[in-house]
Symmetry: C2
Subunit: 280 residues, 2 copies
């Protein structure tokens, strides 16, 4: 039996579209509706079969849903969630898929008050690409997904949402929004910041060499600049803390190179390699 009768996805882009495709395949809901802002996006959502139905009528679509998923860029989540709360059924579940959580969860919990059960979601799945044309229902398989838990969290809704994401293949972790942003700042925001800085450092000629190392380390800097600008600002404190930690480590490497201290350098790199080797 499906966990939800109707799911509404607000924003049918890469992530929203991928959720739609996965839901249609794994059936944790009977029906999945997509809300688009423009007629062109609505037609694309249907063309790529990402949802059962697509509409421009935001209020109507969210009013019927048991679960509303805001899949918009981070900068727009709060405003859309505010609109959704007004029209949603009492007791329905609201979530988002934004990459930062502390600010978003605090503000939306205040908006949702006791009418709607809000829980933040962050699927660690995605792509440097965007748009429903690049949506892929299989990206959640094995992907880490964080659900946020606070004093205000409704435990029954948390359990339902956990089951929902698991049904799409996610490995679900439950964390406070604060811990989420602290971990994500190292595991996601920092790699993006560093990757953008690395690309910014290249020249016409260094790019021509296209070493594999450059290709890998800069891949994520092909991600949307506005989206990541919003994420960095919404998790500002954690981003700055992560950059500080990184700078300390890079400066240790720089210092050992400066001093021609091969022993120390080998030690630093060896320790980093050990950490890396735990990742896969």
């Amino acid at each position: 039996m499906a966990m939800f009768n109707k799911i509404t996805i607000v924003g049918v882009g890469l992530i929203g579209g991928s959720i739609g495709l996965a839901v249609k395949k794994k059936k944790p809901a009977c029906r999945v509706m997509g809300v688009c802002r423009r007629e062109l996006s609505r037609r694309k959502a249907l063309k790529f079969k990402a949802v059962n139905k697509a509409t421009l009528n935001f209020e109507e679509a969210v009013s019927r849903a048991d679960l509303v998923i805001i899949a918009s860029p981070v900068g727009k989540i709060e405003a859309l969630a505010g609109r959704a709360v007004k029209s949603m059924k009492k007791g329905a579940i609201l979530t988002d898929v934004g990459s930062s959580k502390k600010q978003i969860v605090r503000r939306i919990e205040a908006l949702a008050s006791k009418k709607v059960n809000f829980i933040g979601s962050h699927p660690m799945a995605g792509s440097d690409k965007s748009g429903v044309e690049n949506a892929d229902g299989t990206i959640f398989k094995g992907a880490s997904l964080i659900l946020t838990k606070t004093k205000k969290t409704d435990m029954k809704s948390l359990t339902r949402l956990k089951r929902f994401w698991r049904s799409l293949g996610c490995r679900v972790f439950v964390l406070s929004p604060e811990r989420h942003d602290s971990y994500a700042s190292l595991a996601s925001y920092l790699p993006h910041a560093v990757s953008y800085a690395l690309s910014a450092s290249q020249t016409k000629d260094s790019i021509k060499l296209t070493a594999g190392s450059l290709r890998d380390t800069t891949r994520v800097s092909s991600s949307d600049a506005e989206l990541w600008s919003d994420i960095f600002l919404s998790a500002r404190g954690d981003v700055l803390r992560a950059i500080k930690i990184f700078l300390k480590n890079l400066k240790m490497i720089e210092g050992a190179v400066k001093k021609k201290d091969g022993k120390k350098l080998k030690q630093i790199l060896g320790k980093a390699k050990k950490i890396r080797d735990q990742i896969e």
Copy 2:
């Protein structure tokens, strides 16, 4: 017709073994001999069919070759090239596959004097793995390869070596050792240094999230710590210059986040994305 009669590869590890496999397949030489330091490596080189013959007798193996390729870690290239020059035929070609070139080329050119024609090679192909068991003859297909040219370079040998690497599938660029190190410092040394610093910044919990961005950006920090310590030190000046450029770019991002300057931040990230999008 083969370009060379006999090729000798000194050090049959990941790169040396991959060259051997590619030579056996593409036949730019009639025979390829591997020189190993230990009996165990010799047996492994033969087991993985990376060379036609493998020996521990360095002097004998290089004395017969028309082309000697030093495929040892960067820290050992100069010493091995010095030994090779003593036993090589007059007029034979000597090359290495080290990732840094300025210091190596200057020193080996001095050793080679007029007996042997030395030209530095740097294939931008490789892996974070090592050992002949991970060798792969196809890694050169489409890979950039830099050959060094100086006032002392014998042009006939340069042409022969260019043809040799092209026969394995490489896109060959000819650069002065100085320009090589300058470009490679941005395209290869810097991504490695940054990747090691990024891994060093992680915690047990941030690793658990295994975001794709973290996996990609840290992949190369799984590379051998001693090898990269040697590369960083042998191209010290260029590495430090590249780190400085990178720090300036990262600090611009940090500054915009600090000041909550979304417009500036978006501009910086957008510019970096544009550079990145030229890579593939």
